[in-house]
Amino acid sequence: MLLLALILVPATAAALAYVFPTFGKRVLLVGAAAVHLALVLRLWATPGDHALGGWLAEDALGRIILTLVSVLFLAVAHYALGYLREESARAGRAFVSCMLGFLASATLVTLSHHFVLLWIGMESTTLAVAPLIYHRHDRRSLEAVWKYLVLSSVGIAFALLGVFLLATAQPSGAMGGRPLVLDDMIAHASALDPVWLRAAFVFVLIGFGSKMGIAPLHAWKPDVYGVAPGLVSALMAGALTSCAFLGLARVVSICFAAGVDDFVRPALIGFGLFSIAIAAAFMIGQGDVKRLLAYSSVEHMGLLILALGLGGVGAYGAVLHALNNGLAKVMVFLAVGNVVLVAGTSVADDIRGVLRRMPGSAILLVVGLFAVTGSPPFGMFISEYTIVNAAIGEHHPWVAVVVLVLLSIIFVAMAAMILEMVYGEATAARATQRPGTDRPRLVMAPMLLAVLVLALGVYLPRPLTDALSSAASALGGRAP
């Protein structure tokens, strides 16, 4: 019942916001987000819930990602109230409906234990965010949304083929369990056909990988994140990519249970390293701050699948990293959104002296810089440390070395741009010519996320570590 409510509350609110726009779409947006978060917290008290004959079920991994999505959505929804008032007259019902629709479909992804349901949820997220990307209705956003639709639709089509191949790998009858139900596939993993399972993995990796934006399937990412409104980029980089990672992780957990590691692990490690390397290469000399963050997202998606492929404590690190990445990425995207809103551009050279004009957002930017690059004492330091540890522990010391070198390059590239924006002198820069300062309501939500990502670096509460451990063991790893 609770699981269905989690999906139906935002879905109903989306419909209401569209039908009765004057009635209070803003109240619906924040209200539904708050109710959703309350229900998610209720879920932590009653683990193991399921609905629709096991097609919807909650487990540690799904619960962690769902909580992340719910927290991020509430923060973004609160931010949206202020942002839309500032930015445009287009803050129409379609925008609010699509946001709530995104929440409903992302929830479906995290709760699905049936691969077709999971796929439907994933496809719905694509369709829900497309109008959000096109929010500004100009040429650049049109180009971005077209690229996004074509690439992610092809990706998601491949993922569907992957799901069919998964079904083909499963023997019929009692030997294989119910078709495409996650728990049954894990329980009867030894009966799965390895040839079809490998084929399924390849297509799912391409499919969900293009949704995650791992290299070389990331072509849409800088364009979309660069053009979409800050809060939309935030929602995509924090919540959408985490859901796509979850989809991939579900299939990978089946592959591990069926013992096709020899094929799956090298692929994940290879694509992971390649993504981090591509991100580093394109971050050096990048001129646009939102595109810089997009490549940072490519980097962290690479780290996630790398950690998944490494196994051992890497699995634990992967889930923790998904959590940290989501919080930090949304926070920094919202902060950059504030700056871009005032400066009217996201070209870094035109933005100077943020500290003087917008002290709140400036602090957020600097904190965000250290948070997303994995500096202590932020949460991402712990997860990146765990991942590097896993590389050494699982006998891939060269992976650890390569990752550390690339992460250092990325830190320098990001610091160079962001510190210059914050502390740089405002000579001839357009940013300071335009009136505008911090709006308190636009600083509150990212500030809260900054506190959360700091808290995760200092102290992990017991229920969370328990959930992380059980998620790690579901992904063929263990707690450190």
Partner: protein, 212 residues
């Protein structure tokens, strides 16, 4: 199994090549509509017996893939006053040679795959070749609307593969495919319309402002 099903599958391949070879947009859409009709008839041919499930699937597929979607594409062309040529990035001959290569690859791969569930031997290779030709159309045609046609073919190929699992995996699969093709193409169609209004042409090749 049934010679009729084999014949229909061969016609599907033929319609794939028709899309590759034609220079006229309207012919492209006719070919894709014809393909939708063929796909709709397949559940009935592969699983005779007129079970409610197969009949609904067949009817739904025909209505959407052979009726609604082609109608929608024609509407977009008319409303947006698109020029009638396909405008490929590579020549028609090169497209056909690529298609032939895809056909060969599909048959080689399909014989190597251990699939025991299917009634006819042709289903898997035809599914693969349709997916590949869909990808070729998607990547080598410059107009946004022809890219939509390519995407539709890709989905058609996946649908064909899905037919191998028709008896085992629940009804939901087919609903998912039909629904998502419908919604996906609907939204894509609207974007195509906007692209045309904005750029005075629906050539996706003009979309080049965003780059590093």
């Amino acid at each position: 199994m049934t010679p009729l099903a084999d014949l229909v599958l061969l016609l599907v391949v033929l319609s794939d090549f028709a899309v590759l070879a034609t220079s006229r947009l309207s012919a492209c859409i006719r070919a894709i509509a014809f393909q939708g009709m063929l796909l709709g008839s397949l559940p009935l041919l592969l699983h005779p017996g007129m079970a409610l499930h197969t009949v609904t699937l067949a009817a739904g597929t025909m209505v959407i893939k052979a009726g609604v979607l082609p109608w929608f594409l024609r509407w977009a062309i008319r409303e947006a006053a698109v020029r009638r040529e396909v405008e490929p990035l590579i020549g028609y001959m090169a497209s056909l040679i690529l298609g032939a290569a895809a056909l060969a690859v599909a048959f080689v791969v399909a014989t190597a795959l251990p699939l025991h569930v299917v009634g006819t031997d042709l289903l898997v290779p035809v599914a693969l070749v349709t997916v590949m030709i869909g990808l070729i159309v998607l990547t080598t045609r410059s107009k946004a609307i022809t890219q939509v046609v390519g995407y539709l073919m890709l989905e058609n190929g996946i649908y064909l593969f899905g037919l191998t699992q028709l008896q085992r995996v629940p009804f939901l699969v087919e609903v998912g495919v039909l629904l998502d093709v419908f919604v996906g193409v609907f939204i894509m169609g609207i974007v195509v319309f906007h692209i045309n209004r904005e750029f005075d042409s629906i050539s996706a090749a003009r979309l080049t402002e965003l780059h590093d």
